[in-house]
């Protein structure tokens, strides 16, 4: 009887194809939007190269993209000492690179030496350069390694999420990897084939070696329409980072494929030029440096409408420079600035602005008119600017929208400072506040509204400098959080950047892919690549 029942269950499973079984094998396919500029994990900076690094590189520790917590990988444990200057890792025993070369502490030391070599110009290495001086690596007995930096680095352990360990001894050099896949074929400009790493160390709970999928094919495809078409034809298995329009198209075709993971870390924002030496008339400089003026503009913008119309509801009004998606560091006391044109006019009145025949004028009688520049060809930003144009006309302000090619725009905002306001987005991958140092320190080049200041131009910028340095120099997460919360509050009050929306992390995943749980952090869909599997039919067909 039991045997009969078992056969019945088996037959039922086979008969109903929808109850498909995840199994090893098969080829996962998706598109890269550009060719990877490098396959050397230490030099990866572009999206495509980082994709390859993520899928092939073995790291000591990994930020779990779902929980945002740090988890052991090649290192079983780690310890920060010496006030955050030193980190020691205990490594797993008996691991091998994809080509069979044994993994040891020497490889970690070699990787760090390579990474910090100024001649290599590693973008990943830049994150570790907190001060002048040499980085010391020490190979210790019992498969341990200690790395010492010249100055403390807050959030040091999380930075190792980006460091793919390369072999010191392998003849294949950086092509020998410790991650779930290795690069088996690279047809320049066309595709890459990644094959399952037979020496990958991780196993699932039942002891089955990971990854499940035998190979990954990455087709280089710039055209989003073709990418969409290929997904609907079943030629590829998922699309990462979908635009709102394409996402709605997926929803209309097959809602089960569409995944909206919620607000991402990316933000869209505008800011006013506050550079003292800029070639703007003095009365405009006075407008842009006024907190009341910036707050009024912020309150006159209907962020809900932008999220609903421009992003088809797949965005949320931004609160500040930290997205609510950043679970630990986001200041939950803050709310997005409400759309309130009456309040905006009251704030402007405090600075002597007044409405005259529907036109807002300053104390000296100048009509309030300014331009906002954005990059040409980005229809979302152009739409946002056009919506802001209508919103500001509601308080008597004339906004001229100017789209410029990207090099011209960068020239204006970084060299000539010949602009009034700018609307751009920020792609953010890092959770830790230290990644924001280059924006919020008044001396930083990317302190966009008034970069590279010798001394802070305002008291609130001096306060931000102090708090950002304080959070960077302590290892106590609670203290860091307190300081960083204050920075967020000051930024919210002063609004040097007027944050508009946080776009949602949208993706489309074929039902043939099992165990896919797209998240807001990159790489959204395939963050757990070693645990993805394909339905039995797909796996067999391949």
């Amino acid at each position: 009887m039991k045997k009969l029942l078992a056969n019945f269950v088996l037959l039922t499973l086979i008969a109903f194809g929808s109850i498909s079984v995840a199994q090893s094998g098969g080829e996962l396919r998706f598109c890269l939007r550009s060719e990877p500029k490098t396959l050397n994990p230490l030099l990866a900076a572009d999206d495509a190269s980082e994709t390859i690094r993520y899928m092939t590189g073995g790291v000591l520790v990994r930020v779990n993209r779902l929980t945002q917590n740090l988890e052991p990988e090649l290192a079983t444990s780690w310890k920060l000492t010496n006030g955050g200057k030193t980190i020691a890792f205990q490594l797993r025993d008996g691991l091998r690179f994809s080509d069979g070369t044994p993994f040891s502490a020497d490889d970690v030391a070699y990787t760090m030496q390579q990474l910090m070599d100024p001649a290599l110009h590693s973008p990943t290495g830049d994150a570790f350069r907190s001060a002048e001086g040499k980085v010391g690596t020490e190979v210790l007995p019992k498969n341990r390694v200690r790395i010492t930096f010249p100055a403390p680095i807050a959030g040091l352990d999380r930075l190792f999420d980006q460091v793919a360990i390369v072999s010191a001894k392998s003849p294949q050099k950086e092509m020998a990897v410790l991650g779930p896949y290795y690069v088996a074929e690279n047809k320049a400009g066309s595709y890459l084939i990644l094959k399952r790493n037979p020496n990958y160390w991780e196993k699932d709970s039942s002891g089955h070696p990971l990854p499940y999928i035998e190979s990954v094919r990455l087709d280089i495809q710039q055209n989003r329409d073709i990418e969409m078409l290929r997904l609907t034809r079943g030629e590829i298995h998922f699309i990462n980072s979908l635009d709102a329009e394409y996402f709605d198209k997926v929803v209309s075709q097959d809602p089960s494929m569409a995944h909206d993971a919620g607000a991402s870390l990316d933000s869209e924002q505008m800011w006013f030029n506050q550079v003292a030496s800029s070639p703007l008339p003095s009365y405009k400089k006075a407008w842009f440096t006024s907190t009341n003026f910036r707050r009024a503009i912020s309150e006159a913008i209907n962020r809900d409408d932008i999220a609903r119309i421009v992003f088809h509801g797949h965005a949320r009004p931004a609160v500040g420079f930290v997205s609510p998606a950043n679970k630990f560091w986001f200041n939950t006391k803050l709310q997005a600035h409400p759309f309130d044109q009456k309040s905006a006019l009251q704030r402007l009145a405090q600075d002597g602005f007044h409405l005259q025949n529907g036109v807002l004028r300053d104390r000296e009688g100048h009509a309030v008119e300014f331009s906002v520049i954005t990059n040409a060809g980005n229809k979302y930003r152009e739409r946002m600017a056009t919506m802001i144009q209508q919103d500001l006309s509601g308080i008597g302000i004339k906004l001229n929208v100017v789209t410029l090619d990207f090099p011209s725009l960068i020239e204006r905002i970084t060299r000539t400072f010949d602009y009034e306001a700018c609307l751009l987005g920020l792609v953010n991958d890092e959770l830790d506040p230290n990644a924001q140092m280059t924006v919020w320190l008044s001396s930083a080049d990317s302190h966009q509204w008034n970069p590279s200041q010798k001394t802070p131009a305002t008291a609130w910028e001096a306060e931000i400098d102090k708090l950002m340095r304080a959070q960077a120099s302590t290892l106590d997460p609670k203290k860091r959080k307190e300081d960083f919360d204050k920075v967020q509050e000051i930024a919210w009050q002063q609004e040097p950047f007027i944050y508009l929306v946080n776009k949602n992390a949208l993706s489309a995943v074929s039902p043939a892919v099992h165990n896919a749980h797209p998240v807001v952090l990159r790489p959204q869909v395939y963050w757990n690549i070693d645990q993805l599997s394909l339905t039995s039919e797909v796996a067999k067909n391949r």
Partner: protein
């Protein structure tokens, strides 16, 4: 082909009249965003639906056509006059003047137009109104589009300068200006007309291309370029056939210009 030319002329006149009367015909201001109705289907209130920001598409087509249809001929006139002046002088003078002027023209022709336009556009002041920006865009097109026509006019002027009736006019005591104004220019008219009519659709297309790159007419003023940008990505327009109206109108207008051109060529 007479009926085709007449149809083209009637069509162009009808479209021009509709555009000129846009203030009376348009159901809504072209820039007004009906934010509760983005991407709406055609209705009595919005005959061609609304665009992605909720702006009435029919109104935008009317005003956009007005912009492109009025300013493209103006730019074509400017470039044709420049071509007539430069090409005419070069062809009539001949010799070293012609060689130098034509060398300059060839150099001008070899410039990458698009990059030049992008560069010039980027150097313009930022705080200009959309109307001024569109005037500047078409003025630039006019100033940059003379070189090809100048070569043709130069060749024609050279042939005319060596013709018997010019020789006769010289012999009868006409000075340089009289030769140029009384004899050369009237005989260059047909080719100038042809160059003018060829340039009109070229400038419309160029503005549309600039618009597709986001470098054409500034928001919220519509133009065919900005209207055609809606068609970026074929997946976005499937099931919304009314979005194709600006494209169809554009094709019809450009085709009509070519049919009108044939009429001008016949008397030559």
């Amino acid at each position: 082909m007479k009926w085709a030319r007449i149809t083209a002329i009637v069509f162009l006149l009808t479209v021009s009249a509709a555009c000129l009367l846009a203030d009376f015909i348009a159901p809504a201001p072209y820039a007004h965003q009906f934010r509760e109705e983005p991407d709406a289907s055609p209705s009595r209130q919005h005959p061609l639906g609304t665009d992605d920001l909720g702006r009435d598409r029919f109104s935008r087509v009317l005003y956009g056509t007005r912009v492109s249809l009025l300013l493209a001929p103006a730019a074509a006139l400017l470039s044709s006059l420049m071509a007539a002046f430069i090409g005419g002088i070069a062809g009539f003078s001949g010799g070293r003047v012609e060689r130098w002027v034509m060398a300059g023209t060839d150099l001008f022709l070899s410039l990458p137009w698009l990059f030049l336009l992008i560069t010039v556009r980027a150097l313009l002041p930022l705080n200009v109104s959309p109307i001024v920006s569109v005037l500047i865009t078409f003025a630039m097109l006019g100033c940059l589009g003379w070189a090809g026509a100048a070569r043709i006019i130069c060749a024609d002027a050279r042939a005319l300068a060596q013709s018997d009736f010019i020789l006769l006019a010289r012999a009868s005591g006409s000075n340089g200006f009289q030769l140029l104004w009384r004899h050369l220019v009237p005989n260059l008219k047909p080719v100038l007309y042809a160059q003018f009519w060829i340039s009109v659709p070229v400038f419309i297309l160029t503005e549309a291309n600039l618009g597709i790159l986001g470098l054409g007419v500034a928001e919220p003023l519509p133009s065919w370029g900005s209207l055609l940008r809606e068609l970026e990505g074929f997946s976005a327009i499937s099931g919304q056939a009314w979005q194709l109206v600006p494209l169809i109108l554009f094709i019809l207008v450009v085709s009509s210009f070519h049919l009108v051109l044939t009429k001008e060529e016949l008397p030559v």
